[in-house]
């Protein structure tokens, strides 16, 4: 007699849940600190109900069928909430695998007499549950990817601050790769600040730029030109020795831009351009 596995599971629902709960509570990876045993029971019950209602004789090993969409959704939800609570993907995976164990346990009890049928049914259940376990991992990874994307956005948004180092002198420390998007932001901020502060000198410090290729150089030259149009002068500082060599070999012409090795040199130059000097305060004569 061919046993309808789906009907069997429906009949033995309670036993499956009890066995599953026992397994989970006995497992050493149980996280009572993250979820109370009552909540765990509720979560397990919900999943088991959805699963048993959805499987039929035909679809039992095909996780791609439409009937199992509901189960997969519930499982994804469980996986996401567990990830947020701090469960590792392994712990959430074990949650599914222990369900598999209890389903197979019930099969073994029922089909004790027919090893061949037991084997067939077990393999089907195996495939089904493994497919569901993969869903939990995929959901976990998706959650992680979303974090990464958000962080990437935040990093690209780190705007270059425009610092007023002195009356009429601005400094921009440029950190990271200078691509078209960043250059746009840098230029906008810089030109806006020139208007607002009435500055006539802008120091672009590139010591935080890892490599200057012809694209980066082009962006720098554009920024300098735009600044000049507004009546201010750009000084590029922070040129490291290896950058200087690369620029020369690439054949980039920066001859009509003032360049300095350090921000300090650039500042000194800016002062002298504005006919300012920095002097040590003379020692005060003490009264007799």
């Amino acid at each position: 007699m061919k046993t309808d596995v789906a009907k069997l599971f429906q009949k033995k629902r309670r036993q499956i849940l009890e066995y599953w709960m026992t397994k989970q509570l006995a497992d050493e990876s149980l996280r009572e600190d993250l979820m109370s045993n009552d909540d765990l029971r509720e979560q397990s019950n919900e999943l088991l109900d959805a699963l048993i209602e959805s499987i039929t004789g035909e679809n039992i090993s095909d996780t791609a069928t439409a009937e199992l969409e509901n189960v997969k959704e519930i499982l994804s939800g469980i996986s996401i909430s567990r990830a947020r609570q701090g469960f590792s993907p392994r712990e959430t995976g074990m949650y599914v695998f222990s369900l598999k164990d209890s389903l197979i346990h019930i099969l073994r009890e029922e089909l004790k007499g027919s090893p061949d049928e037991l084997y067939q049914a077990s393999m089907k259940v195996n495939r089904l549950m493994d497919g569901l376990a993969v869903v939990t991992f995929e959901t976990f990874i998706k959650g992680r990817e979303e974090v990464i994307l958000r962080q990437t956005d935040e990093i690209t948004e780190i705007s270059t601050p425009v610092i007023r180092v002195w009356d009429g002198i601005l400094a921009l420390p440029i950190i990271g790769t200078l691509d078209s998007a960043r250059t746009q932001v840098v230029m906008e901020n810089l030109l806006q600040e020139i208007v607002e502060s009435g500055s006539t000198i802008a120091i672009l410090d590139i010591s935080g730029v890892p490599a200057v290729d012809s694209l980066v150089a082009q962006h720098l030259i554009k920024t300098v030109s735009a600044t000049r149009l507004m009546g201010a002068e750009c000084i590029i500082s922070g040129i490291r020795p290896e950058i200087a060599q690369t620029v020369v070999h690439l054949g980039i012409d920066l001859s009509n831009i003032i360049t300095k090795a350090t921000l300090a040199h650039a500042l000194k130059f800016a002062f002298s351009t504005m006919r300012l000097s920095v002097n040590r305060i003379a020692k005060e004569k003490t009264a007799e």
Binding site: T152, T177, D179, P210, A211, V212, D213, S214, L215, A217, Q218, P241, E242, I243, Q245, T246, H249, L250, G251, I252
Partner: protein
Amino acid sequence: MNLKSPTMKTVQNKDTIHIAREQDVVLFRNRVKEFAVKIGMGLVNQTKLITAASELVRNMLKYGGGGQVLIETVTEERNTGIRLSFKDEGPGIKDIDMAMKDGFSTGKSLGLGLPGTKRLVNEFAIQSAPGAGTTVSILKWKMG
């Protein structure tokens, strides 16, 4: 132009990076740096190699529609170096001689990428034809 030289070159390590989007550039650059640091390349040569790699990978993205880069550690006699081979299936370069001239650009850029890169590395080879994609190989020794 050929990369063949009279003595034998042996390859130690290699890695292939797929370049499809802008984000792949940073990853690729870091990988090249890893390789260069591993063989003990000095900072100046590292920067030259990475800048050259940056030029070529941007070309590949901008004109070639992305492609693959093979990174290899190469040894010849007493010297070790890094070899990068950029291969794309893009439209190809119509006139290689023009492309290798300073200031020539089909894309409104400075036009220094190819000739500049050649000056940054020890060995440079380029193969391209319209409709047949482009392959550029460069080699930078640790010393010299």
